[in-house]
Every structure is written in structure tokens, then in C-alpha cells.
């Protein structure tokens, strides 16, 4: 398969302050054919999933369950990348690696970073979403 992968982090350096990578989010819009209703459904599903995954991370940390922690980090990384939440995806990738090698203390700190970054992403998504959005 010819994979037309479009790079997102340009060589001109990326803005640390940018919570949602504009070009990646624009790509998602293009992928859904600018269907705002479907996009709102996706964002709704992302928020629901993310809340569950953050809870799963806390539970996995408490239980010292590295496999569950890694899986939750992997899922949130994948979902976040779809929305252009590149900083959050990068934190999740770090967490995935830390869980894999059993670096529990590092992972505990990283989960807190992930949770804080997720709050920023959720606010940015609310702004990026067209007026209204799905009812919670």
C-alpha cells in the first residue's frame, strides 16, 4: 500500500504552547469530509474514552499493573494523535515506555502530567468545535 504519510511536526520547530496541532486537526476535518456532526460525535467519543483511560491509568498505577498502564497509555496516545493533540500523545508515548520497563515512580509523575495536559486538550477541543457540540 502506498502510504501517503503527512508529517505533522514540521522542521521549522513546533510551538510548545499549541495544544492542538492545527494541521493535524485540519487533516481530521478533511478525513471526515467536513461533516461537523460526525466530528462532534468523534470528539464526544474521545472525551468519554479519555476519561475512562485516565481512570484506568490511576487504577493501574495503584495496582502496579504495568500491562494495563501501558495499554491505557497506548490507547490515549493513538486517540490523541488523531485529534492533533501532539504534546499529549508524546506524554503518553513516554508513559507507555516507562510502563514497559517498569519505571513506576517515573510513570506516576507522568500520569499526573498526562492528566493535566488532557484538561488543556479538552478545553482546546471545545473551542475548536463548531457552535453547540454534542450535549453531554
Amino acid at each position: 500500500m502506498a502510504h501517503g504519510h503527512h508529517g505533522h511536526a514540521g522542521s521549522a520547530g513546533h510551538a510548545e504552547a499549541e495544544v492542538l496541532d492545527r494541521s493535524a486537526f485540519a487533516q481530521l476535518r478533511e478525513t471526515v469530509g467536513d461533516d461537523e456532526v460526525f466530528l462532534a460525535d468523534l470528539i464526544h467519543a474521545y472525551r468519554q474514552d479519555s476519561r475512562q483511560l485516565l481512570a484506568a491509568m490511576s487504577a493501574a498505577l495503584a495496582a502496579r499493573d504495568a500491562v494495563a498502564l501501558r495499554r491505557a497509555a497506548h490507547s490515549l496516545k493513538s486517540n490523541s494523535a488523531s485529534f492533533g493533540a501532539t504534546a499529549l500523545a508524546a506524554l503518553c508515548r513516554d508513559l507507555e515506555g516507562e510502563a514497559q520497563v517498569g519505571a513506576h515512580d517515573l510513570a506516576a509523575g507522568r500520569v499526573a502530567q498526562v492528566a493535566a495536559e488532557y484538561e488543556r486538550v479538552e478545553r482546546a477541543l471545545a473551542q475548536a468545535q463548531p457552535e453547540g457540540g454534542p450535549a453531554q
Partner: protein, 206 residues
């Protein structure tokens, strides 16, 4: 598990029936929508165990499986291994869903028999490439089915000719549901012409 028909898919006539196995709701939603828009019929499973249950219950219905790697319950490796170990399912092509940083895992799956992979996150170009790949896999499956059917008919004709030549001991045992000579003669391909010639020969020598 959900099953959903595409806008133009009254059944998998030209479009195929695709099984998406992914624990990630966003991936399932994006893939389902992209494939339905191309006229495919889509069924989804949340993890490998559910995917295998569906395949074992309705295996022959599915034309292609899209399979995530990191999943709860049963991951993509084990799902792929069990699928390829099952003689009823081994022929169904599997396209892996993977992050770009999972190339080692993808290579392992290709060695295990996966047909291809699609990297995440998806975009318009990737979904188009996936659709093209799925269409090629569907066409290959149809070509294989045509080939098998052609071989069965050819064998039946060979039996008829051998019987006419009085060499019954040379005939092979064809299935009881094999098409009759008149049925084969109705075909508009080379086998049909051959069957009609055999019929004429039969009448001439009767």
C-alpha cells in the same frame, strides 16, 4: 459489536464485508465511515476475543479483517495466530492497524501472514489507499473463486468425455452437485463451447 451497512451496500455485491477489530472507538468510527462511504458492509469488534468469536461463527461472511495490535482481552498477535491456525479462516486477508512507531510489530505480523497494514492516525490519503487495497483483495478473492469453479466444471466435462469414450475407469468422482452437461453448455465461455461440442459429438455417435 455493531453491524452497519454502507449507503450503497444492500449486501456485499461489489463492496465487501469488512470486520474491524480495534478497542479504540475513534479508529472504529473513522474506519467504519470511510469504508461505508465506499459501499462496504462493516462489522466491528472491540477486541481480539470478540473478533475471533465473530469469525468462528460467521467466518465465511467476512472478506477482509482489519486488526489492531495492542488490545485488551486478546491482542492482535494472538488473534492473528489463531486466525491463521484455523483452516476455515486462514484464507481471509488481514490488514493490521498500527502506529507508525510499531514497525517491528507490523513486520512480525506480516511474517505471521498479515496481508498489509494501515498506519494511524488515519487521513484521507491513507483511507483511500486502504480502500484500494481492500478492493484489490476482494478482486483476488473473486478471481480465486472463479478459478475454483472453472476447475470443477472442467473436471466434470472431462468425466463426461471420458464416459462417452467408454473409458469409465478413467473418470474421477465428481461431486454429486456438479453441474450437468446442459447446464455447462449454457455458459458463454470456452467451457460452454466445449460442452456444446461434446453434446454434438454425443448426438453424432448415438
Amino acid at each position: 459489536m455493531t453491524g452497519a451497512g454502507g449507503a450503497t451496500a444492500a449486501g456485499p455485491s461489489r463492496g465487501g464485508h469488512i470486520l474491524i477489530v480495534d478497542d479504540n472507538a475513534i479508529n472504529r468510527m473513522l474506519l467504519t465511515r470511510g469504508l461505508q462511504e465506499q459501499g462496504h458492509f462493516v462489522t466491528t469488534a472491540d477486541h481480539g476475543r470478540q473478533g475471533l468469536e465473530l469469525l468462528r461463527a460467521h467466518g465465511t461472511l467476512f472478506d477482509v479483517v482489519l486488526l489492531d495490535i495492542v488490545m485488551p482481552e486478546l491482542d492482535g498477535f494472538e488473534t492473528l495466530r489463531q486466525l491463521k491456525d484455523d483452516p476455515h479462516l486462514a484464507q481471509i486477508p488481514v490488514v493490521m492497524i498500527s502506529s507508525v512507531d510499531e514497525m517491528d510489530s507490523v513486520m512480525r505480523c506480516i511474517r505471521m501472514g498479515a496481508a498489509d497494514y494501515i498506519p494511524k492516525p488515519f487521513n484521507v490519503g491513507l483511507l483511500r489507499a486502504l480502500t484500494n487495497r481492500i478492493n484489490a483483495l476482494l478482486e483476488a478473492k473473486r478471481a480465486r473463486q472463479r478459478e475454483l469453479e472453472f476447475a470443477a466444471v472442467a473436471e466434470r466435462l472431462a468425466d463426461v468425455v471420458a464416459a462417452m469414450a467408454g473409458a469409465r475407469h478413467e473418470t474421477t468422482t465428481t461431486a454429486s452437485n456438479a453441474p450437468g452437461l446442459s447446464e455447462i453448455a449454457a455458459r458463454d465461455d470456452a467451457l460452454g463451447r466445449l460442452a456444446r461440442a461434446v453434446q454434438r459429438l454425443g448426438r453424432a455417435t448415438a
